[in-house]
Symmetry: C2
Subunit: 420 residues, 2 copies
C-alpha cells in the first residue's frame, strides 16, 4: 500500500511517523482543559472528541469518544474501529470537500500534553523473546540450561501491576527495595543499584473475551486493538532476591512506560511477518494460521544528563518467538477472561547480536562488560538523570509508521522513602 496523501502537508513527508496511513490513537489536553481523544496526523492532532461532538463523524453505538480515553471505542469492536479509520481517512485525504469542517479541530502536537490513551485494565508481561531468554538464562544457568524446559512450548508470562503503567514523559523515580547481594549475609533495604530497561512492544486488548472460554490464536488476533512501545523498568538487584519461587514482583512495579500513541492493527497490516521457525512443534491451540508478528524497527536511546544521546540498541519486533496473538490465546487457556484495556507486554526484544540486545542487563552482560556511550561515559545500569527513549518505525512504500517516543528520565531515589 502506498502513501495516502493528506491535505495536512506535514503528514506526507516520507519520514513523518504519522501519515494518513497511521492514524494512531492518543489522549491530549484540549484547549478547554479536558482530556480528549485524538489521532496524530503529520505534526497535528485531530480532535476526535470534538469532531464526534460536532457530528462530523458518527459511530455505531456512539457517542464513543465523549470520554477522557479510548476504552469505550476499543470495546466497540473491529467494525467500529474500521469505520472510524474510514471516516477520518476521508476527512483528511487530499481533496476532501470537508476540510473546512476539520481544520478548527487540529492542534499542534509539539507542546500538547499527552495522557495514557486507555484505562489499563490489567497488565501482563511475557518473556517471549528467544534471544533475551537465552541471554538471561545463560548468565544465570549457563548456555546448556539457558532456556527453561517449558519455554519452547508456551509463551511464559506473569501478571504485572497495571497501576504502575505511565505514559511517555513521566519521570521515573529510582526505587528502594530489599536487596541481598551474593556476598551479603543479610538483606538490606536500599535504593536499587541495578535499575534497568526492557525494550518491548505492548498489545492492547480491545474486544473482551468470556470467562471460561479460551480463545483461538485467530480469535485473539481479532481482539487486539493496537500496539504501543513499552519500557518495563526493572530493578535487577531487587528482582534477583525476590523472584524465587513466585516470579518478579516489586522489581517490576515501579513503573512501565508506554508510548503516547496506540497504533491500530490496521495500520500495521502491511508489515505482517511470520514468527521464526519453531524449534519444537507447538500444541495445536498455539499454532498460527498466518503471519502474526510485525516488521517494526526498534531502537533504544540513552542520554546522560546534559549530554547527547547514544543509540544503545537496534532490533526488530520480528525477533519475538511468540506473537501477541499467541500470548493472548495462551492467557485464556485456563478460562481467564480478558477485558478491554488489558495490556500485554511482549517481553524484551533482543536480536541475535550484541548491539541488538533490549536490556542493559544483556548489553553489559550483568555489569561485567559496561557499555561505552558516544560521549565516553560508561554504563552497566541506569544512572540518575539518564533519559531513555524507545523508538519504533515500520517502513512502508514511501511512508513511515511511528509510535511517538516512549521516554522516561530517571530521578534519584528518595533520601528517606518514609519521610512525610
Amino acid at each position: 500500500m502506498p502513501l495516502i496523501v493528506s491535505w495536512v502537508d506535514s503528514a506526507n513527508a516520507a519520514n513523518c511517523p504519522f501519515p494518513l496511513n497511521n492514524l494512531p490513537c492518543g489522549v491530549f489536553t484540549s484547549s478547554d482543559g479536558a482530556r480528549h481523544c485524538g489521532m496524530a496526523i503529520g505534526d497535528r492532532i485531530i480532535d476526535l472528541t470534538a469532531l464526534e461532538g460536532a457530528a462530523v463523524i458518527a459511530l455505531d453505538g456512539g457517542p464513543l469518544l465523549d470520554q477522557p480515553d479510548w476504552s469505550r471505542l476499543m470495546a466497540a469492536g473491529p467494525a467500529v474501529w474500521a469505520s472510524l479509520r474510514e471516516q477520518i481517512t476521508a476527512l483528511l485525504q487530499h481533496g476532501s470537500q470537508r476540510r473546512k469542517l476539520v481544520e478548527p479541530h487540529l492542534t499542534v502536537i509539539s507542546g500538547a500534553k499527552l495522557h495514557l490513551p486507555f484505562k489499563v485494565a490489567e497488565y501482563t508481561d511475557f518473556y517471549a523473546g528467544r534471544h533475551h531468554a537465552f541471554n538471561v538464562g545463560t548468565m544465570f544457568r549457563g548456555p546448556e540450561n539457558a532456556l527453561p524446559p517449558n519455554w519452547l512450548h508456551m509463551p511464559i508470562g506473569y501478571n504485572g501491576r497495571a497501576s504502575s503503567v505511565v505514559v511517555s514523559g513521566a519521570e521515573i523515580r529510582r526505587p528502594w527495595g530489599q536487596i541481598k547481594g551474593p556476598n551479603d549475609e543479610m538483606p538490606r533495604f536500599a535504593p536499587s543499584q541495578r535499575f534497568d530497561i526492557e525494550l518491548e512492544m505492548g498489545a492492547v486488548v480491545g474486544l473482551p473475551s468470556e470467562s471460561g472460554k479460551p480463545v483461538t490464536v485467530a480469535e485473539a488476533d481479532a481482539m487486539i486493538f493496537g500496539y504501543v512501545l513499552l519500557n518495563d523498568w526493572s530493578a535487577r538487584d531487587i528482582q534477583a532476591w525476590e523472584y524465587q519461587p513466585l516470579g518478579p514482583f516489586q522489581a517490576k512495579a515501579t513503573a512501565t512506560t508506554i508510548s503516547p500513541w496506540v497504533v491500530m492493527k490496521a495500520a500495521l497490516e502491511p508489515f505482517r511477518v511470520s514468527t521464526p521457525p519453531r524449534e519444537v512443534p507447538l500444541l495445536p491451540h498455539l499454532k498460527e494460521d498466518g503471519p502474526l508478528l510485525y516488521n517494526i524497527d526498534l531502537e533504544v536511546g540513552l542520554a546522560p544528563e546534559a549530554a547527547t544521546e547514544s543509540v544503545i540498541s537496534r532490533t526488530n519486533y520480528r525477533e519475538m518467538y511468540y506473537s501477541a496473538a499467541q500470548q493472548l490465546a495462551h492467557h485464556t487457556t485456563s478460562g481467564c477472561c480478558m477485558r478491554t484495556g488489558d495490556l500485554l507486554g511482549s517481553g524484551t526484544i533482543s536480536g541475535p547480536t550484541k548491539k541488538s540486545r533490549g536490556s542493559l542487563l544483556e548489553l553489559s552482560w550483568g555489569g561485567k562488560e559496561p557499555l561505552t556511550l558516544d560521549g565516553g561515559q560508561e554504563r552497566s545500569f541506569l544512572n540518575d538523570h539518564d533519559t531513555i527513549t524507545l523508538r519504533g518505525r515500520a517502513q512502508g512504500d514511501g511512508y513511515t509508521i511511528g509510535f511517538g517516543d516512549c521516554t522516561g528520565r530517571i530521578l534519584p531515589a528518595l533520601d528517606d522513602p518514609y519521610a512525610r
Copy 2:
C-alpha cells in the same frame, strides 16, 4: 466488647454471624432489579443505597452508596467508614426511635442474589503462611530447603488476575491447560487432573496510596477497609509445568472466589492478635508496632455430589507469618501505588497439624495420602461436582462475627474448549 443488641431479633443470637457488632458490606439485587449496597444484620440485609437515597443516613462527600458496589465509599476513607457504622448502629440498635424508617428497607438474606461487593482493581496473592510454605517446600525440595532464602525476610507475593475474581456461589469450570507430567516426553493440552483449593483471607484496600511513596506498616493498616474469605482455585498440574521461572500464571487464573460480605476492620478490632515470633529480625520497614493479625477460626467443607459435607480442614488466620498490613507495605516498597479495590490474598492458611492444612495438595501430600471423607469417598484433588465451602468465624463475648459462606461447585471441563 459485648453484643450490641438490635431490634432485629435474629441478630442477637450468640451464633448468628451477623450481629450489630459486625455490619459487613455486600451488594444484592434489590426489588427494583438494580444492584444496591447493603449490610447483613441477623437474617436480613439493610438496603443502604435506599437509606441514603431517602436521606435516613448521610455521609460526608455523599452520595457514596448510589452505586452498584462499595468502591466509592471505600475510597472515602476511615472517617466516613466510622461515620457509616455509627449511623447504622444507631438505627438498628434496640430502642432506636427510627426503627419505622428502616423497616421498609430490610430484605431477607436467604434467597437474595449477592454480587461482588467492590470492583476488584488488582489482585495480589501472597505466600505468607509459614506452615503452607514449609509443607509445599518440603514436598518439592525436602525439609532442609523447604523455605526459600528470602521467605523469612519479606512476604513473597505475585500479581494475580483480577478479572478472575468471582463472588461466592459462582460455579467453577475445571480448566484446561498445558500439562507435562514427570514421565511425559512432551506436554499436552488437557483438563487439569489436580485441581485444588487454597484457603485464604483477602484484605481489601480502601484508601489508595501515591505512586513513588512507599507506605509504612501502620499506614498500610489504616488503608485496609476490611477482610473477606478467599479461595484461590489452583490447577497444580498446570502450575508445575508453567511456574518456572516467572511464577504461577494460568494455574491461578480460572477463578478466585471471595465471600459475599466484606467484614470491616472495625468489626474485627476485638480479635487482633500478633503475628508469630520472628525467626529472624525483620528489616525496619516491615516491623509491626502492634497486633496486626486476627483470631479468626477457619474451616473448609467438601461436599461430593449428592453427599453430605466433610470438614476437611480447621485452622485460624493467626497462623499467618505476615499480616495483611505487612504485605501491603511491602507491596509499595518500590513505589507501586495501591488503589481502592485492590485485593490482597493472604496466602494459604495452614496450621501446624495435618488436619489444619489449607489445600488438598498439603492434605493429600501431593496425592500420596488421599483423604477419606466422612461418607467413605477418597479425595486427593477435586472431583467434578464437588462443592467447596470456606467459613470464617471470630468468637466475641456473646456474639460471633462471620463472613458468609465462600462457596463454589466444580463443573466438568468442557469437552472441547474451542467448540463454538
